[in-house]
């Protein structure tokens, strides 16, 4: 199975966006880790920009950048949202309320607690009426998202997007589910070669236990290991450096996802046979 990358979006610690992060990920600029900036999204109504859940902000930031790079319209693009959990702050607030004598929940917090909250806000913000889904495979959620996105692109014969993100839980959940940093990544993926397509991915599922590819620096490797959505970093490094390579991404305990990455040749993609 093959798929073409048309656009990338990124939002992580010391990785403000894909354009800024590209030399860092390619090993040509120093990575300066810091808190992830979650920019208020211009896609949201003014009254929701600041109070929107963190996972919504990060998904919208990464998604908007990838769509702009690809020159695609999110309103007509099936989009797959992948996350190892829902919005940690919202879930903690609900669980705290339920453990208190009053047990009163905010209706807004309740609808923000669903795993597909980012997909819902995205649909409203971009006018997307196509299929939107939201999925989870614990630490392997990014690889699961690549699989589902590739299947949808193949079935539809159209470009799709994958937006994967994780945000740390507050205490006490952070002790049982530590997540390193807020991190969001988006890929616009086409089943066919196109002018925007700058790399091709060949997908292979590898049954059994496999050592994954590592990130380019100790700090990035720590991010990869501690943040499920950042399991994509070996792929991003290859895309940033424009090199042909094969990377192995963590998926399940007994299955990995291998990606054979080919940059666009100088003469462009050959028309498919």
């Amino acid at each position: 199975m093959r798929i073409y990358v048309e656009g990338v979006g990124l939002c992580g610690p010391g990785l403000a966006d894909w354009v800024q992060a590209r030399p860092v990920l390619a090993g040509r600029a120093e990575h300066v880790p810091g808190p992830t900036a979650l920019p208020p999204s211009p896609l949201l109504p003014a009254n929701e920009r600041r109070r929107a859940p963190k996972i919504v902000k990060i998904a919208l930031a990464a998604g908007a950048e990838a769509f702009a790079a690809a020159g695609r319209d999110p309103a007509h693009t099936a989009t797959i949202f992948a996350s190892s959990g829902g919005d940690g702050d919202t879930i903690h607030d609900i669980l705290s309320s339920l453990a208190s004598p009053q047990r009163e929940l905010s209706p807004t917090k309740f609808h923000n607690s669903v795993h597909n909250a980012a997909a819902g806000y995205w649909s409203i913000a971009t006018g997307a009426t196509s299929a939107l889904t939201s999925l989870c495979a614990h630490d392997g959620s990014f690889a699961a998202g690549v699989l589902e996105a590739s299947m949808q692109a193949a079935a539809l014969g159209q470009a799709v997007a994958l937006i994967a993100y994780d945000v740390p839980y507050p205490a006490p959940l952070s002790a049982v589910r530590p997540i390193g940093a807020a991190f969001g990544v988006a890929l616009v993926l086409s089943p066919l070669p196109s002018a925007a397509g700058f790399a091709r991915l060949g997908l292979t599922l590898l049954p059994g236990s496999h050592t994954p590819s590592f990130a380019a620096s100790p700090a990035l490797e720590q991010l990869r290991q501690t943040t499920p959505a950042a399991r994509c970093l070996p792929l991003l490094a290859a895309l940033a450096d424009d090199v042909a390579t094969v990377v192995t991404l963590d998926y399940l305990e007994d299955m990995a996802l291998m990606l054979d990455i080919t940059p666009r040749p100088a003469e462009g993609w050959q028309a498919p046979a």
């Binding site: 929940l105 209706p107 079935a155």
Partner: protein
């Protein structure tokens, strides 16, 4: 799409465990809803609770997965010889060639609710609490995959109340692309304070048992369910009574986080896409299993969508008067009801619904009756404006 066979299926709801108890309740028109006594929560509501889960813990190698959601999933997997049929498929295809795509909205969050009540004075969670195998959204997928001895690709879909419908579409794409030869689809959602108090906060909980499509409907009753299906390409072993998955349709409302589009535009598009994928016209459908949660706005929007597309001649009902709204599990509950309707030639009615909303135009059925049913459409809609429709049909 290429049709896929539902080689086996299994369901547990408040109506009972397994296919026989389920079809018996549908024939009797017997609702499983009762005043909610779950965990003695101070709520004036009805619920569709599965009895006895408190006394059926997961033990031995499965103890780490023990939580209400995985208990209910295990109970469903053990019904009707489902595990034997999965074992036979595993022998046919190999464990790595069978995918597991399950849906849930809250997974095992009930476990974390209890852990929060038992925080120590410093605010720490109690020792032994296992987030990954209980609360995490994928905990259900991990458990089902391991319990069935499967090693294929897997994930959990969590699109609120459309979760266990969308997994059919994911599985069909995986099989079409050759990444799997067969797949387990379905899922589970169980009662928890998060959803009981959450829907209460939204002001959409009915005081009595829910009354879908009734003129006096006043909200939902929450239920719990687990259901699973084995999907594979039809072969010589599949007889004329085999139920096939013929089409799936997915859309989004782009309207509101917790209210449907008032004209049901997204719902209509999902139904039309499912019909198109199945290569069918609206008149080819013999029974529609509606989402029909019994909220004022939800039922009105769905009636608008259904009557616009199908007119008033196609019989339809909602399962919610039988089972309550089983949230993320409602898609697979509808799919099992649809499959049973085809195999048993029975069109279910709608307990607790007495007087249809006079403004509605769809062909809502109040009382069950025998009828030959060849093709069924199943609706599920959820928070975030997510819509998914399935079309099932008789093999011959």
């Amino acid at each position: 799409m290429t049709a896929l066979a539902l080689s086996d299926f299994s369901l547990v709801t408040c109506l009972g465990a397994g296919r026989d108890q389920t079809i018996a309740a549908l024939r009797e028109g017997r609702s499983g809803l009762a005043p909610c006594t779950f965990e003695a929560l101070p709520l004036d509501a009805y619920a569709g609770e599965v009895a006895g889960l408190e006394t059926q813990p997961l033990t031995n190698e499965w103890a780490g997965f023990d939580c209400r959601n995985n208990r209910l999933a295990a109970l469903a997997l053990r019904q009707d010889g489902f595990m034997d049929n999965v074992a036979a498929a595993r022998a046919r295809y190999g464990a790595a060639r069978i995918g597991v795509f399950v849906g849930t909205s809250t997974s095992g969050i009930l476990q974390t609710e209890a852990a929060y009540r038992r925080r120590d004075p410093a605010g720490n969670l109690p020792p032994g609490f296992d987030y990954a195998h209980t609360h995490n959204t994928y905990a259900l997928g991990h458990f089902v995959r391991d319990y069935l001895g499967l090693k294929g690709p897997a994930f959990a879909v969590s699109t609120a109340c459309a979760a266990t419908s969308k997994v059919f579409a994911s599985a069909a794409r995986m099989i079409a692309a050759g990444l799997c030869d067969a797949a387990i689809v379905g899922g589970a959602d169980t009662l928890c304070a998060t959803t009981l108090f959450g829907f209460h906060a939204l002001g959409v909980m009915a005081e009595g048992p829910c009354r879908p499509f009734d003129a006096a409907r006043n909200g939902i009753s929450i239920g719990e369910a687990a259901g699973f299906m084995l999907l594979e390409r039809p072969g010589a072993a599949h007889g004329a009574d085999t139920v096939l998955l013929l089409g799936t349709g997915e859309s989004s409302d782009a309207y509101h986080m917790s209210s449907p589009h008032p004209e049901g535009l997204g719902a209509r598009r999902a139904m039309a896409l499912a019909l198109a994928q199945a290569g069918l016209e609206p008149a080819d459908i013999d029974y529609i299993n509606l989402h029909g949660t019994a909220t004022l706005a939800g039922d009105a929007a769905e009636d608008r969508a259904v009557s616009t597309l199908f007119g008033s001649d196609v019989p339809c009902n909602s399962s919610k008067g039988f089972t309550g709204h089983t949230l993320g599990a409602s898609g697979v509950v509808g799919a099992v009801f649809g499959a049973l309707a085809i195999q048993h030639g029975f069109l279910p009615g709608s307990p607790h619904t007495n007087r249809l909303d006079p403004g509605f135009g769809s062909g809502y059925v109040l009382t069950g009756r025998n009828a030959r049913i060849n093709r069924v459409l199943i609706n599920a809609f959820g928070f975030g404006g997510v819509n998914c429709s399935l079309v099932l049909g008789r093999a011959a």
